[in-house]
């Protein structure tokens, strides 16, 4: 018996057969970092010892050039904030992505600090410990070794927007038999940094202030230069 005919007959019994489309999807989201290794940042050799990153919420949109006006309703979302270790390559569960089946063409997300339409100011989420990322590391140049620590605050530009808007992704998710892997390469966020700016600052470790060019360089790298990568993996 043809599917349509069967659906009609069962529907006649009030059994509500047929469908308005695929069911809602729900699948896990995990984060994977990259193991720490020394890398060059200008004429310094840097090794990151700690790289904890806050991520969320993430909204996946049907349009490629998404913004708060072009994505009033998301296809799928990770409506939470979680922290992960960007120096740990193994999968770290963050939670679940939920939403409607469909085509995803961009993502918009925050890094632990949000400025929702209902928040008067940019507000760190409880799970983010007040920052987007926390880095600790060592930099050497010749005989000079510099230990540094940096709390990065990636703040949305305006109320109702997110710190990353319209990042291009492409996926067609119609079922829950997938897993979303978020990949971060913390080293790539520091390669364009010039630590000479804080070389003469006191303290051990040196605290890199939010007003510094270093801080801004890391923020730009995290949001535009080498942003997080999203990959959906069948499971």
């Amino acid at each position: 018996m043809k599917t349509t005919t069967r659906a009609i007959l069962l529907s006649m019994l009030g059994l509500g057969c047929g469908s308005t489309g695929p069911s809602e999807v729900r699948y896990p989201i995990v984060a994977e970092g990259a193991a720490s290794a020394p890398f060059a940042a200008g004429d310094w050799t840097v090794t990151l010892d700690v790289a904890r990153v806050s991520l969320g919420p993430i909204y996946f949109c049907a349009t490629a050039a998404a913004s708060s006006s072009l994505c009033p309703a998301a296809v799928q979302e990770f409506a939470d904030v979680a922290e992960f270790d960007a120096l740990r390559p193994s999968a770290q569960p963050l939670g679940f992505v939920t939403g409607a089946p469909g085509s995803i063409r961009s993502s918009s997300y925050d890094l632990g600090i949000t400025w929702f339409t209902t928040q008067r100011t940019a507000t760190p989420a409880a799970a983010s410990a007040g920052r987007s990322a926390h880095f600790e590391g060592r930099a050497t140049r010749g005989s000079r070794t510099l230990r540094f620590v940096c709390d990065v605050r990636a703040i949305p530009m305006l109320q109702g927007a997110q710190v990353v808007q319209g990042a291009r992704v492409s996926a067609d998710i119609t079922g829950s038999n997938v897993r979303l892997v978020v990949r971060a390469d913390a080293a790539s966020w520091w390669t364009a940094v010039d630590l000479s700016e804080v070389e003469s600052e006191g303290g051990d470790p040196v605290v890199i202030p939010p007003s510094s060019r270093i801080h801004n360089a890391v923020v730009v790298a995290m949001t535009a230069g080498a942003p997080l990568r999203f990959e959906w993996v069948s499971q």
Binding site: E24, S68, A100, R105, T114, F116, A125
Partner: protein, 888 residues
């Protein structure tokens, strides 16, 4: 206020009684032919003439005998083999002591050669009529009554403006008492111990326009009022395949489902009242917005629910079908009713139907107030309706009508289902948020009309009508919480999505039609033709803003427009009879619609753009809609009729969405149906069963967009279904009805692409969400004399209505819970006093009046969700209303 109402009622009642007693008497002397003094317990006397004589008020009637007075009328059917002329049937009735007609003997026909089918039609109607029994010395007695029933061809009550000319082809005509009363004394001696002859009564009854399809229903007063109802919109529930709810409070139009169509507030159903159209074109809240709340339900005599579009008189918005309200008050006299019930609900009704006048002549006033069944649901409303029918010489008849209405109500809005399930908000509550608490609606309506008709001696019918209506609507609703950003000042965001919509419509129109006499082309082939033209013009002012509660400061402007719309229509209809068994009816309808749109926010300059022009965009559009309609009816047996129908209709576009010079892209609908009507022919029509199979294709369906608070296109849809309707009248005092409608509704193409969603997901053949596959309805009613107290009958009445909706499909493969609602009522009446109780949702079912799926942020989560979620508007819980009625 409600607390003091009973006291005020008690103080006012004596005055009301005095007035109520005096005025009808004065009216009788002034207007009516001389009538005998009605029995003390007769209650309201309807327009049917009670027996009179030429020689004086009571000549020919035994002095101690009080004649019977008609209590309930019934409509005869104009037989198919009639030639378009009225036929008078002379009968001798026997009316029992309980007021039932227990025998009807045909004495003759005028003209004598009229088909015998008129006898059958008259007997079927007569045996359904009920009287207040005759009395002798205060005791009810059986009487014999010479009765003349004139069966005239249908009265064509043109339903709307030209685009919707004669929406339902005709209303049921005036039942007994059209003012043509006249009688002569009986010359038959009374039988000793048997029924007492008391003279004659003459009634002119216009028959019901024959149906255009198997699913063309006339809901008579007895069925319509079997179950209790709170508004005129609730009366529709008795029609097969109809589900009615009020998800947006008492000042916003009902949401109506019909045969698989979610007509929202009227987009897919053409509503009319007499000659006045109710749908409002390009209404900001919803295309075809039709607020039925101004109709006082006690003034509705019958409903014509035409499912499908097979009549050339059906026009704009007749996509699923059309509904015509016919007003008339059968029980003549004064009626005063007061009700009080759950949630501080009070209702008052005063209605006056002068005796001796037509049933369409009446005046009514109503007031209603309620605290509402949950937070922010209080309401108040008041309205009045009046009509007068003039009869002139040479077959002229005129009806003047006016109505006024105003209502204001709070809105609780919608709730996220997840918030209800997690206990953040009560199912019957509302968000404790300033923006949610600021939701409200106000609506007003004033209308007037004059309709003239003339029926020639040869059976031709000419009509002319003009109407005027002014409506105002203002609502403040917030569906989405705090998601929106101002267009005017983009740095303003998160101030609350309280959408204020204002729509003012000044409309007027006129229509004219002519139906020819029936021409006999051959002995077995006759034809009649009808044509009509009409115009409708609307001047519409509309605006939409975002407001910030609690001061309702405007923080964004979305719509500011003036629309001028006209609708010029023509219909041609032919009625061919081929032998006595086959009838072909059909024609064509054409409508020219024009729009002049002054969009004062068009070509809007965004805030971050330098001004390069003056904001505003005026555009015009004009289009033609043309479509055939046809029905073939075959009557192989007297008890069976078979129908096959086809029709093409349209729905006019939302004017502001038109582009310059666009050819007014209508939503086109094609509908086809095959069905039957079987009924008993034993005189009382104890059993009637209709069944039909139908299919409808709509080119552009509309669905509600909560972000904008209005309807947006979703693409083409298709519906196939079956409907069955059984009515049983086993005894004169009992009625039962059962209908089941099944529909399979699917989306036929992907929804339109937008910038936010360039590739909307679509699975071929996916179900249309929110449309219940199965709608079942059962109505039952009994009314009997229970016992006699001091010589007067204590009449008991009970009624019930049960509605069942099967699980409704929701987006993403989900289904809602089924809905089962039971409404019951009971009353007892002794002489002029009637006390009753009405219970709605007797089972106290907890159900969603309507469900949506969209994204919202009500600050109930730490991190807002932006994926579409289920939202609901709670249906009312168990509600009881006690009523006290005086019939004077």
């Amino acid at each position: 206020m409600a607390r003091w109402f009973p006291l005020r009622l008690a103080l006012c009642l004596p005055a009301a009684l005095a007035i109520g007693g005096a005025v009808p008497a004065a009216f009788r002397f002034a207007w009516a032919q001389p009538l005998p003094r009605p029995p003390a317990d007769a209650g309201p006397v309807d327009g049917a003439p009670t027996p009179v004589s030429d020689g004086g008020p009571d000549a020919g009637v035994p002095p101690e005998l009080v004649p019977p007075v008609m209590r309930e009328t019934a409509h005869p059917t104009y037989p198919q083999d009639g030639d378009g002329h009225p036929v008078r049937v002379l009968l001798m009735l026997t009316v029992s002591p309980t007021g039932d007609v227990i025998a009807a003997e045909t004495l003759g026909l005028v003209p004598a050669g009229a088909p015998v089918s008129f006898e059958r039609s008259a007997r079927e109607a007569i045996l359904r009529m009920r009287f207040h029994p005759a009395q002798r010395a205060g005791e009810p007695v059986a009487v014999r009554l010479r009765f003349h029933l004139t069966i005239a061809p249908p009265v064509v009550e043109l339903g709307e403006g030209p685009a919707t000319d004669a929406a339902t082809a005709s209303a049921p005509g005036a039942p007994a008492g059209a003012g043509d009363a006249g009688a002569t004394p009986s010359d038959a001696p009374p039988d000793a111990g048997g029924p007492v002859p008391v003279g004659e009564a003459t009634v002119v009854a216009h028959a019901v326009e024959p149906p255009r399809a198997a699913s063309d229903f006339v809901i008579d007063h007895d069925l319509m009022t079997a179950a209790p109802h709170q508004s005129a919109g609730d009366l529709l529930a008795s029609a097969p395949g109809v589900y009615v709810s009020r998800p947006e409070g008492d000042a916003v139009a009902h949401q109506v489902f019909l045969r698989g169509f979610d007509a929202e507030h009227g987009q897919d159903i053409q509503f009319s009242l007499g000659v006045v159209p109710i749908n409002l074109p390009s209404h900001l809240h919803g295309q075809g917005y039709a607020d039925l709340n101004f109709i006082i339900p006690e003034t509705v005599r019958s409903l014509r629910v035409t499912e499908g579009i097979y009549d050339p008189r059906q026009g704009d918005f007749a996509v699923a079908g059309s509904v015509h309200f016919d007003l008339g008050v059968a029980r003549r006299g004064v009626l005063l009713r007061a009700g009080y019930g759950s949630f501080g609900t009070v209702r008052a009704l005063a209605m006056w139907a002068p005796r001796g006048e037509a049933t369409e002549t009446f005046a009514a006033f109503t007031y209603r107030a309620s605290e509402g069944f949950g937070r922010n649901r209080g309401s108040q409303s008041g309205g009045a309706i009046a009509q007068y029918v003039f009869r002139g010489p040479a077959g002229f008849r005129a009806t003047a009508h006016f109505a006024g209405y105003g209502a204001r109500a709070g809105l609780a809005g919608v709730l996220r289902r997840g918030d209800v399930e997690q206990g953040r908000v009560d199912f019957y509550g509302a968000y404790p948020d300033p923006s949610a608490s600021a939701q409200s609606a106000l609506s007003t309506r004033a209308q007037a009309s004059v309709a003239l008709e003339r029926r020639s001696d040869r059976g031709a019918l000419t009509t002319f009508a003009a109407w005027f209506a002014r409506t105002d609507f203002r609502s403040r609703v917030n569906f989405t919480g705090y998601t929106q950003r101002s267009r005017v000042r983009p740095d303003w965001v998160g101030r609350g999505d309280l959408i204020e919509q204002a729509n003012g419509d000044t409309g007027f129109g006129a229509l004219a039609s002519h139906r020819t006499p029936r021409y006999e082309l051959t002995p077995w082939w006759s034809a009649a033709f009808e044509g009509g033209v009409g115009v409708r013009y609307d001047l519409i002012e509309q605006a939409q803003n975002l407001l910030q509660a609690p001061q309702n400061e405007t923080w964004d402007r979305r719509v500011d427009a003036t629309l001028r719309a006209s609708d010029i229509g023509l219909y041609l209809d032919a009625d061919l009879r081929i032998t006595r068994a086959v009838r072909v009816r059909g024609g064509v309808r054409a409508d020219v619609l024009h729009y002049d749109i002054d969009d004062r926010l068009g070509n809007f300059t965004p805030a971050f753009q330098r001004e390069s022009h003056i904001v505003g965009f005026r555009r015009t559009a004009l289009g033609l809609a043309l479509g055939p309609r046809a029905t073939v009816e075959v009557s192989p047996f007297g008890w069976l009729k078979l129908f096959a129908s086809y029709g093409e209709g349209y729905r006019s576009p939302q004017a502001r969405q038109l582009e310059e010079g666009e050819g007014a892209p209508f939503a086109r609908v094609r509908s086809v149906e095959a069905g039957f009507h079987a009924r008993t022919t034993d005189g009382r029509e104890r059993l009637s069963f209709r069944g039909a199979a139908y299919a409808t294709y709509l080119s552009t369906d509309l669905a509600f967009d909560p972000q904008e608070g209005r309807l947006e296109p979703i693409g083409p849809t298709r519906r196939v279904g079956l409907v069955g309707h059984l009515i049983a009248r086993p005894w004169p005092w009992a009625l039962a009805s059962l209908s089941v409608t099944w529909v399979y509704a699917t989306l036929e193409a992907p929804p339109p692409a937008t910038a936010a969603n360039p590739s909307p997901p679509y699975t071929p053949g996916q179900l249309l969400p929110y449309v219940p596959p199965v709608v079942a309805r059962a109505d039952a009613r009994v009314e009997r004399d229970l016992v006699r107290i001091r010589g007067h009958a204590l009449v008991g009445r009970a009624g019930a209505g049960f509605t069942f909706l099967s699980p409704r499909p929701l987006p993403f493969g989900q289904f809602a819970d089924p809905v089962a609602l039971l409404d019951v009522s009971a009353s007892v009446r002794w002489r002029a006093v009637e006390a009753g109780v009405e219970c709605f949702n007797l089972l106290d079912a907890r159900y969603a009046a309507t469900e949506y799926s969209f994204a919202s942020d009500w600050q109930t989560r730490t991190v807002p969700s932006r994926v579409p979620a289920r939202h609901l508007s709670a249906g009312p819980p168990l509600t009881a209303l006690g009523t006290l009625t005086l019939h004077l």
